[in-house]
């Protein structure tokens, strides 16, 4: 990204550790988020994403390490940090028995938005969320996508320069999810720094950089392109054939093949060199009477990338233990 982001990081995590009894929920995690940057936190449920976000918001104290948000040490002055951040939790934290306008007023009060500005900020939130005409609708009657955008509106009422979004897209349908990411990009373009967590691996695509969290540790961080091009440790091929099982068995012993797995009606083959395997594998398989019907190079998905990274990390941990 551009230089200013390194010059003035808005979020700094340094060697953060959080233990609950003997359980290590966050294990020496360090990263930075620049101004106007969207950093994605990806990982399965229970990986530690929410715990890190709660530490950065000043809701939890770290067992060790340091968190700076907007240049302020979170552990020393959580109150000043809270004035500068917006936080949206998985459950959207809206009052379901209040209407849209009443929810905004309530959060305006909590975030101490000056009265002179409140009307204008509420208008902004309603327009951003696309809730014009629904100001008096009860939240419980709104579909998930509307609730989600209203919750985002509430979180940015006080113009925070930093935003923490904890799994905001869980259980929201794809079209609404896309619209939501659009809003996130609009905020980032206005200079807001955003840390957003998700367990949808494919949402890494929407972030400027993505960090993969697994069992409390940050095991990779980079742009979507960097992660896709380097993490796999090889090239991915798609192979279609008549005898799936037999071909799979032969490929696992074939030269240049690192790994092979069934994927729907076809096989995914990880090889150390795509050009060579594209040239040599068809003949190799034909000699075993298993000629493929199609062989092509494909782009790995983020799930491919993350499964590989997690496998490498697990192997390293076992070796260290």
């Amino acid at each position: 990204m551009n230089g200013s982001q390194n010059a003035e990081p808005q979020i700094v995590a340094e060697d953060l550790v959080k233990r609950f009894g003997s359980f290590v929920a966050v294990d020496h995690v360090s990263f930075r988020v620049g101004r106007g940057e969207i950093l994605g936190f990806l990982g399965p449920n229970g990986a530690g994403k929410s715990t890190i976000i709660r530490i950065l918001c000043g809701l939890l104290r770290p067992s060790a390490g340091r968190a700076l948000v907007a240049g302020i040490d979170v552990a020393r002055d959580p109150e000043r940090v809270r004035e500068r951040i917006g936080y949206m939790s998985q459950k959207f934290s809206l009052y379901r028995d209040l209407n849209v306008e009443e929810n905004l007023k309530f959060f305006g009060g909590i975030y101490r938005v000056p009265r002179a500005e409140l009307a204008e900020r509420m208008r902004f939130a309603i327009d951003m969320a696309g809730l014009g005409g629904r100001e008096h609708a009860l939240v419980s009657n709104l579909a998930g996508g509307w609730q989600q955008r209203l919750a985002l509106g509430c979180a940015v009422l006080h113009r925070p320069p930093i935003l923490f979004l904890d799994e905001p897209t869980s259980g929201v349908e794809p079209a609404s999810r896309r619209r939501f990411w659009d809003l996130i990009h609009a905020l980032a373009a206005d200079g807001v720094s955003i840390l957003v967590s998700t367990h949808y691996m494919d949402e890494a695509e929407y972030c400027h950089r993505a960090a993969l969290i697994n069992r409390g540790r940050l095991i990779a961080i980079g742009s979507p392109e960097e992660l896709k091009s380097t993490a796999l440790g090889g090239d991915l091929l798609l192979l279609e054939c008549d005898a799936l099982g037999a071909t799979l068995a032969v490929l696992q012993q074939a030269p240049g093949v690192i790994d092979c797995s069934v994927f729907g009606d076809s096989l995914h083959v990880l090889v150390d060199n795509a050009e060579r395997s594209l040239r040599e594998l068809p003949d190799y398989l034909a000699q075993k009477n298993l000629p493929p019907t199609r062989l092509a190079r494909i782009h790995p998905s983020f799930e491919d990338v993350f499964v590989q990274l997690i496998a490498v990390d697990s192997a390293e941990r076992r070796a260290a233990a």
Partner: protein
Amino acid sequence: MNAATPIVAAEALTKRFAESVAVNGLTFSVDRGEIFGLVGPDGAGKTTTMRMLAGVLSPDAGSIVVDSVDVVADPEAAKQHISYMPQRFGLYEDLTVDENIRFYADLFEVPSVLREERAARLLAASGMSQFRARLAGQLSGGMKQKLGLTCALVHTPRVVLLDEPTTGVDPVSRRDFWRILYGLRDEGVTILISTAYLDEAERCNRLALLHGGRVLYCDTPVALKRHMPGALIVITSSAGRKARAAIAGIAGVSNVILVGDGIHAVVNDARLRIPELRQALETNDVPFSGIAVGEPSIEDVFVALLGNAGAPR
């Protein structure tokens, strides 16, 4: 594919709850030995459909035949052929892995001579052999799902219904789970699986895209992608918002979204539109390093089809 009668046939299924229609005239069939996906966002009607197929919820209208048994007329008879794994599968957290399996084997009246061999084989397939003495409550989310599947398979059913078995499960366990499903498919078991992860749909032989209780589309993942209206264009740019502004309003361009390293757009004709897009970017001084046709994901197809079917919420 094969001329034999489908092993699962649902026709014009409808289910209403108090004020909403959860399933609305759903029709599809599944061939023997297929992995068939019911794919769609929350609220699309996946779970209601699964419950009706399993014979635990009766439809307001429509018919269901599973393995030649009329499920609506005789749900009990169907249960011998079907194994149903609901989203919250009833594992006993204070029992061990082995004890849970034994419990389900009793429930399904699996002869004791077959039990040990089956349990051992299923546990080996799911990589859980060394955890047989562990309490179910102490397993990770992914392992619990694998144990649930093991319990659901202990009576070797011919049809398996899995309702969102991978939701919230880590990607590695998700892969293991699919490996087990492919193994079952090789043995001739028919699998119906529902998922809210659209990327998972690509692992199925065929799938039905559900929305609002209806089937938007039903075919193989490859055929489904061919039905993407138009083509997906990937523009790599460090100035995504500028790029989007520059191409706004060009006829035949829709569904423009910002991604981390540029934008994606859907166009009606790639060959015609790419030069136009390129020109618009250059005229507006938008820096970009690439513009090319990309492979659409199932989500791209879903959103595009939905755009044709009606406005999203």
